[in-house]
């Protein structure tokens, strides 16, 4: 049976910022993938980056070092 699990979801002000994170994480070997923004974060649409909750501190550090823009990081229970 499919169960909800906590995920770290990173939201962005622009899709270009989301695409930068996807490209950066792929190159750096960081886990995660792009998903539609869950309603717990914002109503509407758009892309978010879903990754592991335990990686939050690491992502915050790396993003600050690299000057990567994002709107917020949230831990949300998601299916799958």
């Amino acid at each position: 049976m499919r169960r909800k699990k906590p995920a770290l979801v990173i939201a962005f002000a622009s899709t270009a910022h989301a695409m930068r994170v996807e490209a950066f994480c792929a190159a750096a070997g960081l886990p995660g993938r792009l998903i539609p923004v869950p309603r717990e974060i914002t109503a509407g649409c758009g892309l978010a980056f879903k990754t592991l909750p335990e990686e939050e501190a690491h992502f915050r550090t790396v993003f600050a070092q690299e000057g990567i823009e994002y709107e917020g990081m949230y831990t949300v229970d998601l299916w799958g």
Binding site: T15, A16, M19, A23, A43, E69
Partner: protein, 379 residues
């Protein structure tokens, strides 16, 4: 056909451009609309193209590269999105109608005031001629990097220094130079760089854009679908979404990305030097022919790969038509959407025949054009 109308559009593109467009048409969903495989297959090449253009023009970030249909749309966005009622603008007589008409419209609708730096006898506009027109109410300097009629280059690095010293917004139309002459937004102090994808960048028609400097605010020209913040009544603030309402030309942008990658690999200097060599070869061949008048300064200054000329008092349209029909040489006659430059050169009635070269032209193309001009001049 010997194609020498590359200032209008480059006909021959790097082979990977068409391949990228075909692949995009077979694989792309809608960039910025969802996260399924098709949507990401569109969003990734679009983003890669932003990165490539950022590198080419030294823009502050890939998110500050905004796509439009062409340079005209980019210039309309830049000009109408930054000028306020009563602002004064310094521009030049070298400008294309894609700069002039948006400015004339704001002159009529918002009371924007315009001053035009005039060219010297060779068609050249010096930075000091631009500086001399700056007033206390000047808000922006808007100028082309090179005349689309004669190929005269404006020293935008010097103009950028002037703009920075006077705290003015500097908008550059790079339609004739992007891909062939070095452009460094940061070093040149460019606030907004407007470009088209289908000329020197050798990408598909229907692509272009603007690169926005750090801290430059542009009001949206259009609003609409953005793929994010759907319940907001206003366009999202973040670049590039702020200026990109509606579905992008993803297929074209994929091709443009391949073209810019090709340019980065080949090198802007190598491309520019080849184009300049062909242009100067043609100039040397025609400039001494009796009855031929060439416009512009060929004394050694850097120029775009354009040679505009007339043969005696022959109508430029007729000359261009004979070149096409009898010699299979494609050129552009008439006014080239550059009315003030033609006024300055005294060619309003006659127009001029413009020969413009690309990286893919050959020495044989230039020589064939020289011989054709020679025969026509001999009558």
């Amino acid at each position: 056909m010997i194609y020498l109308d590359n200032a209008a559009t480059t006909l021959k593109k790097p082979p990977e451009v068409a391949a990228a467009v075909v692949k995009a048409m077979e694989t792309m969903g809608n960039a910025d609309r969802g996260s399924h495989g098709g949507a990401l297959a569109a969003a990734r090449p679009v983003y890669a193209c932003r990165e490539a253009l950022k590198e080419l023009f030294h823009a502050p970030g890939a998110d500050h590269v905004v796509f439009t249909q062409n340079a005209t749309e980019a210039l309309n966005i830049a000009i109408s999105g930054t000028l306020a009622p009563g602002d004064h603008v310094v521009t030049t007589d070298l400008e294309h109608n894609s700069v002039l008409r948006p400015l004339y419209r704001l002159e009529a609708e918002r009371g924007v005031k315009l001053s035009f730096a005039a060219p010297d006898a060779c068609g050249h506009v010096s930075p000091s001629a631009i500086e001399a027109l700056i007033r206390p109410d000047t808000r922006a300097i808007i100028c082309t990097h090179a005349s689309n009629l004669t190929g005269e280059v404006i020293d935008i690095e010097a103009v950028g220094r002037i703009a920075k010293a006077r705290d003015l917004l500097f908008i550059v139309d790079a339609s004739q130079t992007a891909g062939a002459l070095p452009i460094d937004m940061e070093r040149m102090g460019i606030g907004i760089l407007c470009f088209t994808g289908h000329k020197g960048l050798m990408g598909p028609q229907g692509t272009g854009g603007l690169c926005i400097g750090e801290g430059v605010e542009i009001r949206p020209f259009k609003t609409g679908g953005s793929g994010i913040h759907s319940f907001s009544k206003t366009q999202p603030e973040a670049y590039p979404t702020r200026l990109e309402a509606g579905t992008l030309n993803g297929h074209g942008i994929a091709g443009l990305g391949a073209a810019v990658d090709h340019i980065l690999k080949t090198g802007v200097d190598a491309i520019g030097q080849r184009e300049e060599m062909l242009m100067r070869r043609f100039y040397e061949g025609v400039s001494g022919i009796e009855g031929v008048t060439v416009y512009g300064d060929f004394s050694g200054r850097r120029r775009a790969a354009i040679v505009a000329l007339n043969i005696r008092d022959m109508d430029s349209a007729e000359v261009s038509d004979i070149l096409s029909e009898a010699y299979g040489i494609a050129t552009r006659p008439g006014a080239h959407c550059a009315p003030r430059m033609h006024e300055a050169l005294g060619t309003r009635e006659q127009g001029a025949v413009r020969f413009s070269f690309s990286y893919y032209n050959t020495e044989a193309d230039a020589d064939a054009a020289i011989n054709a001009v020679k025969e026509l001049a001999e009558g």
